[in-house]
Assembly symmetry: C2
Homo-oligomer: 182 residues x 2
């Protein structure tokens, strides 16, 4: 962060292994605004070295980091989660495989969790509403799979977790379920 880059190595067209990128190049290549990159740097999500003239230069491995931030953001993960997810992946050098792997396992857990949430919501909507009962408790038994099938995921029983998560709404959905019985 307070290291210094060679002043002359600014922005050539061809690329060599340890060429440094300007903030503009990073922005163009990742699709992330320069102002956002500065913001991420303030947060410590990414880092840069500085030229003698105090301009940022990014090592190439920072591209991957920024891309991951962008994807995660698109998926609605807060930056604090992204930060945590990076764990001990180093900022000051190209991360090793082991370092990426350790981090990736953390991310995975978070992502699987979130994806499961999405799947639950999908099931609630296509399954429980689709079948007409509108009560998730009842639907846990019906176990619909019309929509899940189209994605290659097999039919599944709802988790006990779901019962807990949305129990508040369910305590009352019997009213709706009764109307559905007409």
């Amino acid at each position: 962060m307070t290291q210094q880059a060679e002043p002359g190595s600014a922005a050539p067209a061809h690329h060599e292994p340890d060429e440094l990128l300007t903030i503009g190049e990073m922005s163009r290549r990742t699709g992330v605004a320069a102002s956002a990159l500065r913001f991420y740097e303030d947060l410590g999500l990414i880092a840069s070295v500085r030229t003698a003239g105090n301009q940022r230069r990014y090592p190439r491995h920072m591209l991957r980091r920024v891309s991951l931030i962008a994807v995660a953001k698109r998926l609605g993960l807060p930056l604090s989660d992204v930060q945590e997810g990076f764990g001990d992946v180093p900022l000051d050098r190209t991360p090793s495989h082991e370092e990426w792997q350790r981090a990736s396992r953390q991310w995975k857990r978070r992502l699987v969790e979130r994806r499961r949430g999405l799947e639950r919501l999908e099931r609630e909507l296509t399954g429980c509403i689709g079948c007409g009962c509108l009560s998730m408790k009842a639907c846990a038994l019906l176990n619909p799979d019309d929509a899940l099938g189209e994605d290659g995921a097999g039919p599944r029983r709802l988790d006990p977790e779901l019962e807990r998560d949305d129990a508040d709404a369910d305590r009352d959905s019997d009213e709706i379920g009764a109307r559905a019985g007409d």
Copy 2:
């Protein structure tokens, strides 16, 4: 919204089919703060009738709506998406099955899209980083499925879409890929 509820029907303990709920009861049952419920009402995401004394009373079917908002929020969907997702599901009466079904199909599309994004990120992390190549382009051929398998989804080739989406970062990942080849 400007309808009026019977003044005497405030907050009994047992529940009848068309009993109305106070904002406090809604809050307790859905886990959503009363201030948030007022906010959602301002946005038109939910609606209430008023007592003679101007207090909110919620019909029971609003519980489901609020629960869906809460789940969607937990999954990082913006309220504007939630709003759109509700489409023509009516606020002023218990929605019919067809109305919920129409809306659910809209939601589904959004959710599937988002879930696919998560799966892509998972693949990138466990597949491409896990296997050591660190280049998504190369990994499209390797097609890892260790993590996908645990969720019952079959192994899949990466979409051409992925290539497009993250092409920016990939243009440079050959550098990383080269180091990975050691």
